[in-house]
Symmetry: C2
Subunit: 260 residues, 2 copies
Amino acid sequence: MANLVPFWLLVSAILAPFVGANWNILRQKMNNNLDHVVADDALKIYCESWRVNVEVNNVRGFEVVPQECINHIKKYMTSSQYIADSERAIEEVQLYLTTCCSLQGDGTDAWIFDVDDTLLSNIPFYKKHDFGGEKLNETAIEEWMKSSKAPALEHTLKLFNLIRDKGIKIFLISSRRENLRSSTVDNLIQVGYHGWSALTLRGLEDEGKEVQKYKIEARQRLVNEGYHIWGIVGDQWSSFEGLPTPNRRFKLPNSMYYVA
Amino acid sequence: MANLVPFWLLVSAILAPFVGANWNILRQKMNNNLDHVVADDALKIYCESWRVNVEVNNVRGFEVVPQECINHIKKYMTSSQYIADSERAIEEVQLYLTTCCSLQGDGTDAWIFDVDDTLLSNIPFYKKHDFGGEKLNETAIEEWMKSSKAPALEHTLKLFNLIRDKGIKIFLISSRRENLRSSTVDNLIQVGYHGWSALTLRGLEDEGKEVQKYKIEARQRLVNEGYHIWGIVGDQWSSFEGLPTPNRRFKLPNSMYYVA
């Protein structure tokens, strides 16, 4: 191998300038990448803090997802993390149900579900509308709702069945308008929901009313009729806030839109 | 260069078995790493879903952080994300303060703060106690609190000053016990807090009472005295839940412990 050494030296000598140049380019690229990584990290942290502050209801009333966070929200809403977060919430409901309720068993036990992004997923719609980065077009979303094509959130469907099979009456209180009743019912049935006791939708008298107030009134009617509301599962704080309160409320993740 | 070609072939032929062997080792290593990555990812997703479900109060009443998530919570509580999440919450308070309140200006405007992990950080204590993975030792934490060494949460300190300077009276309602009064006051002053109106601590009559109930009673007393509670900043849901409610509540992140 002794005769190889000078040859390797020769090769090294020939290649050195190119390697040097490449090294500089490489270093430059690495630095650029590092800048991107640092900027990407900062943006990721920023958008994640926006998202979690939406989840705990510190950030309220946003009309659109901040433009610089569209990609982050898209990633989250289509991630295993979103599924895991939702499933964990549902598991906590199941845990609560094993111990919580001295059910009356006389038909007055009640549970409330939201419809959108609680029973049915609007992610296919929001995929086409920047995951909430686009200002909501009422006509477009009602078009989508009329198509009855929203898939079920599978973990919520299982919970729905569990609650119904316990003899608890299920009330769906949605901010959808009355004109969407048949499409909504069709959609729910097609993806496997059946056996709810009532579906409350927004009538003409609720137009212009805040959703939170409309939902409070709907709960109040249930209480007036003698129902005991053991829990609410929803993706919006406007489904929980205000009196009457249920025994427990369970928040599903959703940072694509805010319903006041 | 023509005479080099057979030489390269020769070198390749000599090195091939070693490269092959290395490649196999490398591939093995990569596969092992991949297994770890997959397992690490699954655990990360699991623990993150636990954490966010704590934040929105779906997961309640835990005595310790799940053992497999100690590392995740440690990472989070010492991360830029924790700082960013807290700062974002505080920024939302500031935003709210610019528009929210038709302040009475007659000394009845009130704001409530938690003490632990809201004004003062207990992270130095929990660093030594597995970030909540160890069951809380009352004696140990009171020892820590008596040392008056908790640092300020800097972003909350700024907010505290802002609110005080607006002429809003600040009430600190803490689940710390009365025997910690002088250590708590010393600690608060040392890190820069001054000018609060009252510090409410748990007296003998509150022993064995749920913190949520104790805090409700403290708020009720304020309301009875004619105060208008514009907001509460805290890290525990037991600081917000129940009547009387403030105009707004702001949840700071904390998944190290749960106060019911």
